[in-house]
Symmetry: C2
Subunit: 230 residues, 2 copies
DNA sequence: AATTAACTATGATATAAATCATATTATTCG
DNA sequence: CGAATAATATGATTTATATCATAGTTAATT
């Protein structure tokens, strides 16, 4: 990790978007741009909360370890996304780890200033509340999927999420370069199984593999796999 | 469901606790006490959000269906707990179902008034934000458990949660009367497997079954099952 | 450029947990 | 109160998915 002089335009993060213009200079004075190299841990489960971060460049995985060899990826964060916010609960101990998946630049805002911002801006607090409400809905949907949906459905769900989150280029390739292992850790399965499921989906003509990425040929049908059919 | 004249003391729910005294009469004017019989559905997945509810009496399960025969219980709500709050995200469609597990009395607050309360009270918005933050942490922990922990660990986790949520009487019996099927649906397994796991835990002397409930004989050791041990 | 380390690819095997089957016992309710 | 419905209890069987094993490829790092 190192401090960098890159700086954002104070306009794209949740904090800036929900602060009045007069507050921006204060934000500017209280933020710190940090950069992390690929694979570097940004913060880790069990450590104390320092503040919140906004992703400026790169991709971050938010994950929870189980055994040293196993983890579940909870989400991916990209430009504009906030991370570290899970720390605003009662517990001052971080429940998750954040790791850079490529070279990442972040804007860090220490907790005291963030709390001050919350106290001084009702719209910000309200926006954060809504943000959490959405995150909770999403988390609970995934809870059900992990408990009751089969792996193939979760793989389909993962691909659809990636397509939605990262977008696709002109050829339809999902604009990400995540490894299969990483995708598997999001889907909540092993990479061997993930790989087999990709093969099945390929055989069924729902996806296509390219050198660099994946193309969803039939998002409709993929979505079907993520629904119950009794 | 029917409207009832029972009324609470306007002091125990998140809304009342975070409103100034002057607001309480307004709450009083805008709430409605409702009662539901055992097994009655309070609101269901896919329907439109009407407002939030505070449990006054009884136990409610918050669940998400998969196939008609399968569901995951996300949480149990008891006196003082708020339900329906998952609806405050961007989506106006409820993502979950709430069902009465016994006879339940609720205090209902319609969405417009609840939103008005949020707008007029920063502390309330802040409290709700923190509430969500905690719920999210909890949900994500369970996500990992469902994905990576074995069933026995999840059963142990379920028992510890029940003990914590419902408390225990002088004999150590957990003060709830949930069926095994319900507990299994919370643990994310079938009731047959849940039953087998209870047998194992009994054989290991960690729990004891009574006619009416369960006693945790060794909470320490149960907790061990919920941690990684490589 | 060479060496290590990480990721992909597949088949074979093992196993945890779901499903199926069938009694038995409670509980609800007309 | 007695019929019907739901919950418990257990064994047998199946199946989805993880684990193990082994190679081949690509990507990092010195």
């Amino acid at each position: 990790m190192k401090i960098t002089k890159t700086s954002c335009d104070l306009s794209s993060c949740l904090l800036c978007k929900n602060s009045v213009a007069g507050w921006l200079p204060l934000i500017d004075a209280n933020r710190q741009m940090l950069s992390f190299k690929k694979k570097e841990v940004i913060f880790s489960e069990g450590s104390l909360v320092a503040g919140v971060y906004f992703v400026y460049k790169g991709t971050v995985k938010i994950h929870k370890a189980w055994s040293p060899q196993k983890e579940l990826i909870l989400s991916f964060a990209r430009k504009g996304d906030m991370i570290g916010y899970r720390a605003l609960g009662n517990d001052q101990i971080l429940p998750i780890t954040a790791t850079a998946l490529d070279d990442v630049t972040l804007c860090f805002v220490a907790l005291p200033f963030f709390e001050l911002s919350l106290q001084s801006s009702h719209p910000l607090t309200y926006a954060l509340m809504r943000f959490y409400a959405n995150a909770l809905q999403e988390a609970e949907k995934r809870m059900r999927n992990l408990a009751l949906m089969d792996v193939k459905g979760r793989v389909a769900e993962t691909l659809l999420m990636l397509h939605h989150k990262f977008g696709a280029d002109e050829m339809g390739q999902i604009a990400m370069n995540l490894t299969r292992q990483v995708m598997a850790a999001y889907a909540g399965t092993t990479y061997e199984t993930f790989f087999r499921m990709l093969n099945e989906l390929k055989a069924e003509g729902l996806i296509q593999q390219t050198d660099e990425s994946l193309i969803l040929l039939d998002a409709e049908k993929l979505a079907t796999l993520t629904h119950t059919d009794p």
